[in-house]
């Protein structure tokens, strides 16, 4: 098990990516699966950093567990309650028509990973992402 706690700040994202790579270095994982997990983790961490703490500050914790069959990532924060696993699928035609830049990250994460589980417990958002190998 690997654990990392960071300030909710975009400058921490590169460290999160390196933490993931270090955590997965001892398992046999394809480049494509590694990329999918990395992107999903980046999307969810950036989402917490941008939206969980509207007054600034805040921290988040990441835990990575893995075995031969799957990688499990748990992200915890104490910010505003938000369940990304229930966000609706965006309509690309509507996104283009509206000229919107954002709104694709959560959907992208759900598609890249095999499971997306959310619970609110003890004042924390607890998001679990699972990738089967």
């Amino acid at each position: 098990m690997n654990h990392l706690s960071i300030a909710a700040d975009l400058s921490e994202v590169d460290g999160v990516r390196q933490f993931l790579k270090d955590s997965l270095a001892d398992i046999d994982i394809s480049e494509e699966d590694g990329f999918k997990i990395e992107l999903a983790l980046v999307e969810m961490v950036v989402n917490v950093i941008r939206y969980a703490y509207p007054d600034g500050g805040g921290v988040l914790a990441i835990e990575i567990r893995k075995d031969r069959h799957r990688v499990i990532i748990e992200i915890r924060d104490s910010g505003l309650p938000f369940d990304p696993c229930r966000a609706p699928k965006p309509d690309i035609d509507e996104v283009v028509a509206a000229g919107r830049k954002g709104g694709l990250g959560i959907y992208l994460t759900r598609e890249l990973m095999d499971e997306c589980l959310y619970r609110r417990d003890g004042g924390q958002n607890i998001l679990t992402l699972v990738k089967k190998l």
């Binding site: 975009l10 400058s11 994202v13 590169d14 480049e31 494509e32 990329f35 999918k36 992107l39 980046v42 999307e43 950036v46 941008r50 690309i92 035609d93 996104v95 283009v96 000229g99 919107r100 830049k101 954002g102 694709l104 990250g105 959907y107 992208l108 598609e111 890249l112």
Partner: protein
């Protein structure tokens, strides 16, 4: 991220290098560079992704916004030399429905004159 501009047959080519992501601290974004070209009347733009190895949803948004700005002014924005893993992101986000993506720069350049 670094972006270099060159031109071929009046088509503006942006050679992008590095990562297009939210946590990048670049002063200028891809969309801003595309808009600068549109403002001076350059409406045929090719984005060369040969040296791009990572994009996140912010990067997808930048590409989409660049496409929309160009399209709304009657121009054309195309992409070339995207890696297999980046193409996967474009497929998932359904950008392949709206973007004209070419394997090679040469075929992308030719396509500007065929449309």
């Amino acid at each position: 991220m670094m972006i270099n501009k060159r031109e071929k047959n009046s088509i503006v080519i942006f050679d992008i290098e590095g990562e297009i992501r939210r946590s990048d601290i670049s002063d200028v974004t891809l969309h801003q560079l595309v808009k600068e070209q549109l403002e001076v009347g350059r409406k045929q733009i090719l984005l060369n992704f040969d040296k791009v190895d990572f994009i996140d949803s912010f990067g997808v948004g930048e590409i989409l916004a660049s496409y929309i700005s160009t399209h709304n002014l009657g121009g054309k924005l195309k992409l070339a030399r995207i890696s297999k893993k980046l193409f996967l992101i474009f497929q998932i986000t359904m950008l392949t429905k709206v973007l004209d993506i070419h394997d090679e720069e040469a075929s992308a350049l030719q396509s500007f004159f065929k449309d």
